[in-house]
């Protein structure tokens, strides 16, 4: 099996080499004209306003968190799905309980509207979140 993963390593090295070499060949063939205007960041033709390294919405992190929870869950599903006929009904019930707990989490996030792209934020007088 380790032999097979040697293949993966060779592929990783080959991908890096291929991209690097092609870029070097392209570097040799292409023209290179220096122009400060050309080297500014593209912003619809206007001069760029400020840096783009700004804060962005925290909702991206919530999506990432939800992803990690469910991805790990799927990781548990994969080995189970391979042996589930042999493991029998008991394993099916156990997996059902495990997933039900996580589905509760999904329902909670859904109810808190963490799954919406634009969260409806109520003022303290109106509601509770």
């Amino acid at each position: 099996m380790i032999f097979n993963y040697g293949n993966v390593l060779v592929f990783a090295i080959a991908a890096t080499l291929f991209v690097t070499v092609t870029m070097l060949v392209s570097r040799l063939l292409q023209p290179s004209v220096y122009d400060t205007e050309k080297l500014t960041s593209y912003e619809c033709g206007m001069r760029p306003v400020g840096s783009a390294w700004v804060q962005f919405s925290i909702r991206f992190y919530l999506v990432a968190l939800a992803f990690i929870i469910f991805d790990v869950e799927i990781l548990f599903l994969f080995p189970w799905s391979v042996v589930f006929t042999a493991a029998g009904l008991a394993a099916l019930v156990k997996m059902g309980i495990f997933i039900a707990i996580l589905l509760l989490g999904l329902a909670y996030a859904w109810q808190r509207s963490d799954l919406d792209w634009v969260k409806q934020v109520m003022s303290p007088e109106e509601g509770s979140f």
Partner: protein, 349 residues
Amino acid sequence: MREYILTLTEPGQLLSGVSFGLASLLVMVASCAAVLGVIALNGMFLVWWERKVSAHMQARLGPMTTGYWHGWLQSIADGIKLLLKETIVPLLVDKPLFMLAPVVIFGSAFMAFVPIPWGEHLIVADLNIGVLYITAITSLSVIGVVMAGWASNNKWSLYGGMRSAAQIVSYEIPVGLAMVPALMASGTLSMQGIVESQAGGFWHWNLFAGGPFTLIAFVVFFIASLAEVNRAPFDLPEAESELVSGFHTEYSGMCFAFFFLAEYSEMFVVSAIASVLYLGGWQCPLGLSLIPGPLLFLAKILFLVFIQLWFRWTFPRLRVDQLMHLAWKVLTPIGFVNVFGAALWLVLI
């Protein structure tokens, strides 16, 4: 693989007298070259095909002049042009990350080819956790996307990169869930093993193994994988009308070409995974062995790719909130129900 290389080094064979280590290295390098060839040909063919299909769906002709016959040399001309174009690296970018992003994205698309079985003995390496490996490697591309978006120091790139990351990780969940029923039906994680378990005609395919549940799983997999590879109607990361070109706005020349190549090979890879998991891979639909396996596999992949192209001109692009709604509130619950439906069906029936 090991046995194959040992037979190659026997006297009278191609690599007679060569030590085992060197022989296996040569075989690995040869398989790398073969996959690179597949990726390059696939990219060139798909670009041309996509332009032709889009043109004909809009009652146009598409490229017609280059190469005289229906513009078949158009992609090669485009490739040469991209090679000769100046790679512009804006002054304000984070240069190491900017140059590394195409490597990561192309690498993830390239390495995904390792466990894909093309025929009974035609596979780069039959990994025992092939499905897990392929999900892991294809989701590496999201790191490249975020890298490109962040390093460009451009507002369009940042928005495109973040949107794309959110989209890819969200749709990763339905994709994973939709793979599970096929794994249950086949009982293995090796890609070759999954194909072998579906031998003997289309009624043995995983598509029909779990009653309605595997059918639904296939549809969910196909829809979610469209979002995984940023294809229309989920092409928000590069929504031209709002984000210019998304995370690769600042890329030009060969750097851009690698994003392009990676996108087309990802289309090919997800179609290959779908046909391995549900459509029997290289197995013949009628259980015969008249047509070579690799050709059948290619036909299945190109059929799925054609549906992807067709979708592009059929469905309008989704909004970001609709995209998240579809992933978390429609496809993920369907995926969970499906896993249990398929499990009960396989245990009880």
